[in-house]
Amino acid sequence: MENFFKEKTDEYKNLLAEYLEQQDEKALYGVELVSKALIKHNILPEEIINIHIKALKELDPNLFGAFEHSLEFLLEAMISYGLAHQEIQTLREQQIALKSEISVAAQMQKTLLKTKKPDVPGLDIGVISVPANQMNGDYYSFLQNADGTIGIAMADVIGKGVPAALCMSMIKYTLDSLPKESLPPPAVLHNLNRVVERNIESNMFITMMYAEYNPETSKLVYSFAGHEPGYFYRAAEDQFTEFSTSGLVLGVSEEVEFEQAEIEIDEGDMVVLLTDGVTECRDGDRFIEIDEVLDVIRQFTHLSAQEMVQEVYRYFERLQDFQLQDDFSLLILRKTV
């Protein structure tokens, strides 16, 4: 370090001498390299001025009076810049540490929330979930019940990022702890609500829908807790209809009853479930309305369910001023036989 500093100080002096004599570009370029090397070694701006003063004194011992004092004055003025520079340096290091910590957490979250699409003959399932930031506040899960029915859960924690992600693991654990026998959807939501209500801050909440599909009867029974409505595509009519049940979001009040409703699915019919990240997408100042989402889905009905959800997301991603405001999740279920 000592040597480095001495070396650069000499180099600076030589370059300065060269420049005083000839005012050439080469010396200017040289000093740029010197200053970059000094920055790399955390040499502060006031120290560079100090190098300058020393060099100048050695080159011209007759330097005196006001000019010399003015340089000392400038040196003092640079001290605050130096401090600011050091602070930025520290912040930069902290930011790198934080970033890597969050990406480790995001990776953990991915592992934790991994869910396997159930393999049901005659049922084609596609799902995509894209976080707005590194961590996802949306959640979906498939449950394979002992009686052959399939549970489908979709939830959206208010806000996004780390707090939402932490909150979501609560849903995951509660769902995992439910009995193996299938429960009616309102009972599932009721259980979750009890846990969430006790463990959540007063201005947070979770919207959720839970559905159960019975492959034998082709019936989908569902219950909503303040979640975005789903859409049911009736192939025979080539039309989407909204479906939902009324019910309060999870985490607000313990005394909530959830309703249940059902639909029967025929061949070619589709069930579309989503989070508000889909309906709150913006293209510049314009909000993307649900009709547009459904129109896009309709364009891709010839594809498999998984390709469909991916193409729908890609379609919005391609819009010129598209910004993902919130975590985006889309799930499509289609009866193929």
Binding site: G159, S202, N203, F205, T207, G226, L248, E280
Partner: protein
Amino acid sequence: MNLEITLTEEGNQSIIALAGEIDAYTVTNLKETFDSVTKKEGQEVIVDLEHVTYMDSTGLGVFIGALKSTKESDSELKLVNIQDRVYRLFQITGLDEIMDVKAAIRGGNE
């Protein structure tokens, strides 16, 4: 986009008039304003949302917090003049069932 907050207090009544967008960025000030009035006993807190054009779920969360806080202090929270887009949020989340919310009257101010 900003959120303008105008608080008028008169006796037991506090009127909070809002204008702009309520989202994760603007919600902090709103939360502070709510905290300053909803914790007082026996208050009637009226929030006028006529000029609120957008609200996200973080905004909704602050209203839930305010509702809980007014209940604890025996106060009342009323939301008035809510525009369609924002009102839909209250309906989907089922909050319209547990909160005193009134949509904006279309085609006039009577």
